[in-house]
């Protein structure tokens, strides 16, 4: 069976006056129906750009290429105008990061929610309202009928994010891309929103690509994880495998810098030294070489490929891949046959 979303060799280049900047390079993953994939990486690592490219929302200054970009049997690279409009929105949809700016301040929640219906389906106003109210009820907003006539500024951040989720799920999409939907929210609301996503996914079988820089969220919500660094996937594995045996030095650094309640709280948290590299050097060497504690000569000379590894003495629990020459320095791992 083929996956719902297949991305391979996705590259995004921005043309600016000072030359080209490659924001995403050789990005790819597969996502099955009903699956949740976490995509982590620091700010500017290309998480959002890659997904905006998949959705076709990047500005004209971005040049997008992909070896393969398939969604539910449709080749997204070949779709034009009307076809892609029919697919986006109803079939693939997105929850945005900032609930303050993802709602038009001048439209009522009801108008906002039914926009997708107005654009796509010639639903009657009453029918659209009914569906919008049902969607609001589904994301746990009380008295949804009355809230339809409320303006965004009258809602709290958490409520607005719920509206954003209701909006994204209104047409029962097969794929939901959640771009840091909890980053702008405080912790308790975060937990509620995550619960909500989990429940809705369970009910509708939506596949979720969850973009975040919180490893805690990934651990709680996702089945598989992709770690991005400087526009490239440096490691991909099941959540269990990644947290138990991170292979890439960057992933190890990330995990080490997560505060733990059971750890030694008197010492400062370890941090990854240095800053993310500028993209230009990332062409000929491992992008992480400048900050890597395990760096060797070959890391600076050539770009490591993503290879598959399995744990010694264990059947592979899904594919654990990483792009690092030193991955075998991790204990008890060996390259897959």
């Amino acid at each position: 069976m083929s996956s719902l979303l297949e991305v391979d060799g996705l590259a995004v280049t921005f043309r600016t006056r000072r030359g080209e900047t490659r924001a995403v390079d050789d990005f790819g993953y597969m996502l099955d129906a009903g699956e949740t994939l976490g995509i982590v990486g620091e700010s500017g690592s290309g998480k959002s750009v890659a997904h905006l490219a998949i959705l076709g929302l990047l500005p004209a200054s971005a040049h997008v290429t992909a070896r393969r970009l398939m969604f539910d049997g449709h080749d997204l690279t070949r779709l034009r105008g009307g076809e892609s409009r029919r697919l986006r929105g109803p079939q693939m949809s997105m929850v945005f990061q900032d609930p303050m700016s993802s709602l038009n301040p001048l439209l009522t929640i009801g108008r906002q929610l039914t926009e997708v219906l107005e654009v796509h389906e010639n639903a009657t106003r009453r029918d659209a309202r009914r569906r919008a109210a049902a969607a609001l009820g589904e994301v746990g907003i009380s008295d949804p009928e009355a809230r339809l006539d409320v303006y965004p500024h009258e809602m709290s951040g958490g409520m607005r994010q719920r509206v954003g989720i209701a909006m994204a799920l209104l047409c029962r999409p097969k794929l939901l891309i959640a771009d840091e939907p909890t980053t702008a929210l405080d912790v308790t609301i975060q937990a509620q929103v995550l619960d909500l996503l989990r429940v809705l996914q369970h009910e509708h079988g939506t596949a979720i690509a969850f973009i975040t820089h919180s490893l805690g969220v990934v651990a709680g919500l996702c089945e598989r994880v992709l770690v991005l660094y400087a526009g490239r996937v440096v490691e991909s594995a099941s959540v269990d495998a990644l947290f138990a045996r991170p292979l890439h030095p960057y992933t190890r650094g990330l995990l080490a810098s997560v505060p733990r309640l059971d750890g030694d709280t008197s010492r400062p948290l370890p941090a990854i030294a240095g800053h993310p590299t500028s993209r230009a050097e990332a062409w000929t060497a491992c992008a992480f070489a400048a900050r890597c504690p395990l760096v060797e000569d070959r890391c600076r000379r050539s770009v490591p490929q993503r290879d598959e590894y399995v744990e010694i003495g264990r059947e592979g629990d899904g594919r654990h891949r990483t792009a690092c020459f030193r991955a075998d320095s991790a204990p008890c791992m060996e390259p897959a046959p």
Partner: protein, 344 residues
């Protein structure tokens, strides 16, 4: 659900409603708003008002200073003399005669050196200002807003070309171009009038319309550039909305606030410009009146023989109060339409 919550839900005014309420709470701006409304109404219905003719001469009389009581009417002696009025205005004047007959205001603001009633001249002159103001508004709204919004949304090459056109028009020294055009056109007056029906006045209006949308286009483009990356626009695109829909539903309503504010703050400059050109003798021509022409006549009235001060003061007060009201209203609108609420 508690009762209190219900009330909160019902009392949820839309953003425009809230702006209106904020404006109402702002006393000076609200007064300015009604003052402008009254001025506009008076100038619209000028032919209906029981005013003396603005151009009927009484050359034998000395200029008359404004004299109390300012509520006196005279009957008899109304001479329905006007310039070439439009059919509508002629009908209105006829209606005025059938309602008021010969009744007309006494010379509340005095008369000028040719014995014409100053109040009538100011009220009729306000129609020129209104026309110029409306024209500038229309050009700004229709051409300027569309131009700026399309350029901002399209981005890239389209944006660059459209904005370079604006830059090029901007770089023409506006006043000189107008003066030059009008002076040159004066040479072919008869021909223009005959073949194209283009009078100097319409040429004057055309030039104002041609130039006045430029700043609005820039203002709107700047706003749209900011808005373009708002997540709700991405959401709308993702929902499958086409560009015209996004423009109409998401972009234009969100720039409307700044457009309104900018309009109220920029209309004074076009009113002043009309006065300036008329003052130079390049705008409105006698026997028509405009506030600029009244200012010229006022200036002429200052002579060693006697100071007919009211001929200077009355038009200046009329113009000044309208400009002040527009500025106060613009300020008030800026506060009222500020989504962050402005000073409480």
């Amino acid at each position: 659900m508690t009762g209190g919550d219900d009330r909160w839900l019902q009392a949820s005014p839309g953003p425009w409603r809230r702006a209106w309420e904020d404006l109402r709470a702002n006393r000076p701006a609200f007064v300015a708003f009604w003052f402008l409304a009254v001025v506009a109404a008076l100038s619209l219905v000028a032919p209906l008002l029981p005013l003396p003719s603005p151009i009927a001469l009484k050359l034998a009389d000395e200029p008359l200073a404004p004299t109390a009581p300012w509520n006196a009417f005279t009957t008899g002696g109304f001479r329905p003399e006007y310039w070439d009025l439009s059919a509508l205005d002629r009908a209105l004047v006829a209606l005025r005669q059938s309602i008021f007959g010969d009744l007309q205001t006494a010379h509340w603001l005095g008369t000028d050196q040719k014995g014409r009633d100053l109040l009538a001249r100011i009220v009729w002159g306000s129609r020129t200002s209104l026309a110029v103001g409306l024209l500038a508004t229309l050009a700004s709204l229709v051409v300027g807003v569309t131009w700026g919004a399309v350029a901002g949304l399209a981005g890239g090459r389209v944006d660059r070309v459209m904005m370079r056109i604006v830059d090029a028009l901007y770089s023409l020294p506006f006043i000189f171009v107008v003066i030059f055009l009008i002076t040159v056109m004066d040479g072919w007056r008869e021909e223009l009038q005959g073949t194209l029906g283009l009078s100097r006045e319409s040429l004057f209006y055309v030039t104002i319309g041609l130039f006045f949308w430029l700043t609005m286009a820039r203002v709107v483009r700047g706003q749209v550039l900011q808005l373009r990356h708002a997540e709700f626009i991405s959401a709308a695109r993702l929902a499958g909305a086409r560009w015209p829909w996004i423009l109409r539903v998401h972009v234009l309503p969100n720039v409307l606030g700044i457009v309104v504010v900018y309009l109220t703050l920029s209309i004074p400059s076009v009113l002043l410009f009309e006065s300036f050109l008329s003052f130079l003798g390049l705008g409105i021509e006698p026997p028509k009146v405009s506030w600029g022409l009244l200012a010229v006549e006022g200036a002429d009235a200052i002579s060693p023989l006697g100071l007919d001060w009211w001929l200077v003061v009355a038009p200046a007060v009329a113009m000044g109060s309208v400009l002040l009201a527009l500025n106060v209203l613009g300020d008030g609108l800026r506060d009222a339409l500020d989504p962050k609420g402005g000073p409480a």
